[in-house]
Symmetry: C2
Subunit: 303 residues, 2 copies
């Protein structure tokens, strides 16, 4: 039977654990995810959470290939970064020491290494697996890959290597400003205004120095002009992504570009880049993660 | 006796209430402050907090002249903004309806109006009183006043009027990034590094579009280079204030400048401006607030 559960793929982000039950031939059999109320703090807590979510799958396999924050310093097991430039396929794996001897089944946990860059100092954990997955599906592709998220990454890929990359805190800034700052009173939790987004993005992409002064105008607009909260949300996003695109210009200007992300996070970037005349190849983040973990598992199986 | 308590000056900021016992001739007799655990939400809660802090002072006077957030929409009594350009001296006062009839002594609460600007939309509450105080002490002064804080204000003052102003969220951004974001792991709560501040400020004042990309390098520096947390703190401050100075350039370039603030918040701005060859006249925020409230009280007494 080719479709028996053979191994488990795991993506452990900063807030969410996602597991896939995988057949030996790489077919995705099932999927589970959980969002712990707080981040696990000890290896034992990581293992408890994983065992709870994997549940009955562990009766059939203890082999897990994982990427993401479980390999960080404060994670399950610290996996050293690999400095760029370095090859992204096949992904480098570290076998993690796990499980007290009396805990059954014994886990065989393999964690994909993150990437680091010396100058300017930068790190990624998880995105390297998406990049590996993208290259597994797009053999020989060269160019720049943007991976929007809490910490958006821009990676320059050439000849199967990540040459350099840069992280922008745009997603985290958006969350902090829209949920924690004084702007929260006037920024909706959902909703959109495409024109407001485009205008704001155009403002900061052409004059990024204006960002610092444009933010509070959302507060003023709320108090004085009854600015629509959905419009304010789109405008805030446009201001921040416009500033990011201004800073990241060397990454996208005249480059072959791919954009890896869910529709929700990737759409504003695609719109913003399109407004600059940049066409991007789109790919789904979960699909790329799984493709990268498949490539890592294949390397493991062939070793 | 000229030094009997005659009236109470009150500065109600977003987090702190400060009261001064005042003599009829404007002498400061005593000072009290409190930081409620949460912001009051109803007029009755505001009044309870004020009565508790003023305590025995209210046996001698019920006259209070106040500025700040108690005049906001979510405050004690909403006091309309005065649109700029408008005169700041003498300050405009609104008599607030207060106190159930059976509460003794009856309060006579007078609240200074905040300022608003139509385009770009902007507001201030509290800083207008400091500006009024500064002009009371510096008769005929023209130029630009910077008031650093959670929401830093830059105000263009001419012929006793605020002509225009702009708010920057630099202080709130610094707090959010250093306390709530992923950078918190590597940014100290205190400590300073003057060279790191100057370098970072120079970076973003000359190339403000780099801000979005420079922030995460603090995280990378923490993980890869053991970046000193006090250095990271100074660098974060420099990046943000540099971006603000770049955006606020029309306010300070070639202008006669004053800086109103406590040493802690004003010092980095003074350093940053000095690096651009701008000399500033310094004034203490509390002193200016009290001078502004004195001017408002004099207007009240004369009316």
């Amino acid at each position: 039977m080719s479709h028996d559960l053979d191994w488990i793929a795991a993506d452990w982000g900063s807030t969410r654990l996602r597991l896939w039950a995988m057949a030996a031939d790489g077919t995705r059999l099932a999927e589970r995810s959980s969002q712990p109320e707080r981040a696990p703090r000890t290896p034992a807590e990581f293992e408890t959470i994983l065992r709870a979510l994997a549940g009955d799958w562990l009766e059939r396999t203890g082999t897990i290939v994982a990427c993401g924050m479980l390999g960080a310093r404060e994670g399950w097991v610290e996996v050293p970064y690999r400095p760029v430039p370095c090859a992204v396929t096949p992904a480098a794996l570290t076998r993690a020491p796990v499980a007290a001897a009396d805990t059954r089944p014994t886990l065989s946990l393999h964690v994909v290494s993150g990437l680091s860059q010396a100058t300017p100092p930068d790190v990624m954990r998880g995105e390297e697996t998406q990049i590996a997955g993208f290259l597994a599906k797009n053999d020989g592709w060269d160019g720049v890959i943007c991976l929007p998220g809490t910490h958006t990454k821009w990676a320059h890929v050439s000849a199967g290597e990540v040459v350099s990359f840069q992280t922008f805190m745009t997603g985290e800034l958006f969350a902090l400003l829209s949920e924690q700052s004084v702007l929260r009173h006037g920024v909706a939790e959902a909703g959109w205004d495409a024109d407001a987004f485009a205008d704001a993005l155009s403002d900061t992409i052409s004059r990024p120095e204006k960002l610092a002064g444009k933010l509070f105008a959302l507060r003023g607009g709320h108090l004085l002009d009854d600015l629509d909260p959905a419009t304010a949300r789109a405008r805030l996003s446009g201001l921040l992504i416009g500033a990011e695109l201004a800073a990241a210009k060397p990454y996208w200007l005249g480059q072959n570009m791919a954009l890896i992300g869910s529709d929700t996070v990737a759409h504003p970037y695609a719109e913003g880049l399109a407004a600059q005349g940049v066409t991007v190849l789109r790919a789904d983040a979960d699909d790329m993660t799984l493709a990268g973990l498949r490539a890592a598992h294949a390397q493991l199986a062939g070793a």
